[in-house]
């Protein structure tokens, strides 16, 4: 047994342990912390599997934004004082447990019963990599070979935001999401919110740009930009924009709109919907990714900010 195998086995065991602990934890906050640690450890496993793109996304979404979302939910539950009162009955909990176990078993069976060698399209994707001029096979699959999935995924993200916004009471429809954060303007948080975003924005753009040839891309870059925006909002240096703002709505639809127009132009200029003329494949894909990064950053930031709670007037 070599060192790498020992490390991987230990990592897998720790991930399983953290997963069990997250489910068993009685405190909501403790469970959230467990979930964040679980996401970060899972990212390490993806790195060991040479899936750095997936690792980046898992760390950003599972460890980062997902954790913040759950922390916010835990804080609201505690403030409302409902967590202790509305404890689900034993029957409900057993039912949920049975359902979860069934899903886990079905997934495990699906993975374990794969024929050997498993069916794969990876060689086909690698063979045709030259068609787009991009060096990162994951970006190739996401933006060219399976572009339809990515387009629909972005629309789903937008629908999720519409779902969150629709929770707003009638009186503040179109208002500003979340509370107005107050922090000491000369305190540590405000200091960090002034110092970090310039660096974070550069790193976000770098992750987007490098995604053409190396691990990275629109989703990972957009998440970093969203995190910087949220930091500024949480430090009270900026307010969330009202949901009725035209500019915000334009940014929110920019990504899917550019993607869709390029896709429709493919019907006319290329070989069909979502096909790129070979000579312009790379600039078109990078252009779509730039628009999508802005949309993803705005959507994720607003998803975390929550439903409108205050009227749009400042």
């Amino acid at each position: 047994m070599n060192i790498a195998l020992a490390l991987e086995t230990a990592l897998a065991l720790v991930v399983l342990g953290v997963a069990v602990w997250t489910i068993a934890a009685r405190e909501t906050y403790a469970a959230v912390v467990g979930f964040v640690a679980y996401g970060l450890l899972l990212a390490l496993i993806w790195v060991r599997l040479d899936a750095v793109d997936v690792a980046l996304t898992e760390a950003a979404i599972g460890g980062g934004l997902g954790g913040v979302l759950l922390l916010g939910a835990a804080a609201r539950l505690r403030a409302a004082g409902t967590a202790a009162l509305e404890r689900p009955s034993v029957g409900v909990r057993l039912g949920v447990a049975a359902l979860s176990v069934a899903v886990a078993l079905a997934l495990a069976a699906g993975v374990l019963l794969l024929p050997d060698p498993a069916p794969t399209l990876a060689p086909a994707a690698a063979e045709n990599a030259a068609a787009t001029g991009l060096g990162n096979p994951v970006t190739n699959v996401l933006m060219a070979f399976r572009a339809m999935d990515t387009l629909l995924e972005k629309v789903v993200l937008l629908l999720a935001l519409v779902g969150v916004w629709s929770l707003a009471p009638d009186g503040v429809w179109g208002g500003r999401p979340g509370p107005r954060h107050q922090a000491d303007p000369r305190g540590v948080l405000a200091f960090l919110a002034r110092l970090l975003p310039p660096v974070g924005i550069v790193i976000g753009i770098y992750v987007l740009w490098t995604g053409a040839n190396h691990p990275g891309g629109a989703f990972q870059g957009g998440t970093i930009l969203a995190a910087m925006w949220l930091l500024v909002i949480m430090a009270g240096l900026a307010d969330t924009p009202p949901a009725s703002s035209r500019r915000v709505r334009l940014v929110l639809i920019a990504g899917p709109a550019v993607f869709l127009s390029v896709g429709l132009a493919g019907l006319w200029l290329g070989d069909g919907f979502l096909t790129y003329p070979a000579a312009y494949a790379k600039p078109l894909i990078v252009g779509i990714e730039v628009a999508m990064t802005l949309t993803i950053a705005a959507t994720l930031g607003l998803l975390l900010a929550g439903a409108p709670e205050r009227s749009a007037a400042p």
Partner: protein, 97 residues
């Protein structure tokens, strides 16, 4: 020369790993929030700093070396700020556990 660099890497990374170990032991064993934060930030600052220092001779290019240093500096910034915020919150609540 490359042998010396390898030795430097092994020494630095091992020392860094020791600081991480010490920080983790401190996080588990120290009695209250403030001392635990102290142990944790030592692991971040010195442990990661030594690991990065040890990895620098192994980096293929100036670019990847600079990236490693960036990672360390960003972790320093995040660790220092977050521990300040946690310490303030802990002092405001006045709870020691």
């Amino acid at each position: 020369m490359s042998f010396l660099l390898d030795v430097a890497t092994i020494v630095c990374v091992s020392t860094g790993a020791f600081f991480f170990l010490a920080g983790t032991v401190g996080l588990i064993r120290f009695p209250d929030t403030l001392t635990r934060l102290h142990a944790l930030t030592k692991a971040d600052n010195l442990g990661l700093g030594l690991v990065v220092l040890g990895l620098l001779p192994q980096s293929e290019s100036l670019r990847s070396g600079l990236k490693l240093i960036c990672v360390w500096l960003l972790t320093l910034l995040a660790g220092a700020t977050v521990s300040q915020l946690i310490a303030r919150a802990a002092r405001r609540e006045g709870s020691s556990p």
